[in-house]
Symmetry: C2
Subunit: 239 residues, 2 copies
Amino acid sequence: LKEGGGGAGMDPFDIFNSFFGGGGGRSRQRKTQDVMHKLGVPLEDLYNGATKKLALNRHIADSQGRVTKKKEVLEVRIERGMDNGKKVVFKEKADEMPGALTGDVILIIQQAEHKVFKRQGPHLTMEKDITLKDALCGYKFTFNHMDKRQIVVESAKGQLTEPGSWVCIQGEGMPIKGNSFNKGNLFIRLTVKFPRPSQVSSEVLSQIGGLLPAQQPAVVGDEADEHVAKPMGEEEIVR
Amino acid sequence: LKEGGGGAGMDPFDIFNSFFGGGGGRSRQRKTQDVMHKLGVPLEDLYNGATKKLALNRHIADSQGRVTKKKEVLEVRIERGMDNGKKVVFKEKADEMPGALTGDVILIIQQAEHKVFKRQGPHLTMEKDITLKDALCGYKFTFNHMDKRQIVVESAKGQLTEPGSWVCIQGEGMPIKGNSFNKGNLFIRLTVKFPRPSQVSSEVLSQIGGLLPAQQPAVVGDEADEHVAKPMGEEEIVR
């Protein structure tokens, strides 16, 4: 899918300059440099598992000691629940040089941002808007998970949903690697959206207000400075 | 209030090691090192103005060339609207040495955290909880500003307050230095607190629900996975 830029366009003999230094006094066989690549992986592929193909240019040495450039395709197995930053090693897939061992190609899994889910290790988080009516009387909503399953989420009975509160959906997080039946949790943050003033008359609002518990009214002194609050968008605030 | 630690306990002759390097080829008179001190200042003092006293130990040279240690008290004038990080310079108040110019004492204003207000340059921000009733029918609340004035804040007429929204109170921010009539703005973030289930019966809630606009009900397929959301505290969530 991506062209590996590791040794491409490089004089093969320059590679000797980047050999591993033979430390520790032991005599050590020369080895061509390992090649590192970042591999961007959508969260869906880390959830469902996938196979990716990656084309790399490498130098190949034949039995006569001639070095030629060759395109090679690596097949990368993305396992369900693989961690962000995980290294996948292809042994001896770096450039070849006559008389030297061959280095490895190392791919580093780079989890891409998802538009709905965020990953937190084995868990997932998401945001969901609910209406004021749903917050007061209970909600039921659906969404499609990364494996296309429809998930239905319902509030616990008699539960009032405070704006900005979190709920936990057990077992709907990321698959846990090496255990196909085990998954983390999904945490959902519920934002309560109020009706627009056009959707509900001021008479209805005061009717609702009459049904709700009130606070003690504010005690205002003679010297107080009175202000009418000016509503503003979040983007206007200096933070 | 605080003991200045600048040159205290130091051999006065060591100070010669830290003289300013005479750059640029010009011959330059030796000078003892400037002393920097951080001065923690409560936000109230930056709002109202204040005078602080700071005790420092310094070396004093007399006319015979004798050097003695002396405690000296500096009076620091905190002006209304002074910036965080502002440097206040006391000329020639560092250690004295015979045959050298005397360096300065430099105080750096470090604005302390306030429990109600946060400063954003000339503006202030604060958080305020209001009830659901207030969010729907309008609110009026009071608070005491840093100069002890009582401030009354009232919602604009017919305004529904979305949870987490910001309002602006003009002219109730920080004083602007050098202009005693000019102040920044105060931005208030309004958090809507729902009644506790014990304060409002399920009958009343469904009565209220009947008055509010509803969403389209969720369409649930045969294959859907159904979950009851488990409410949780913000502190439980992994982020």
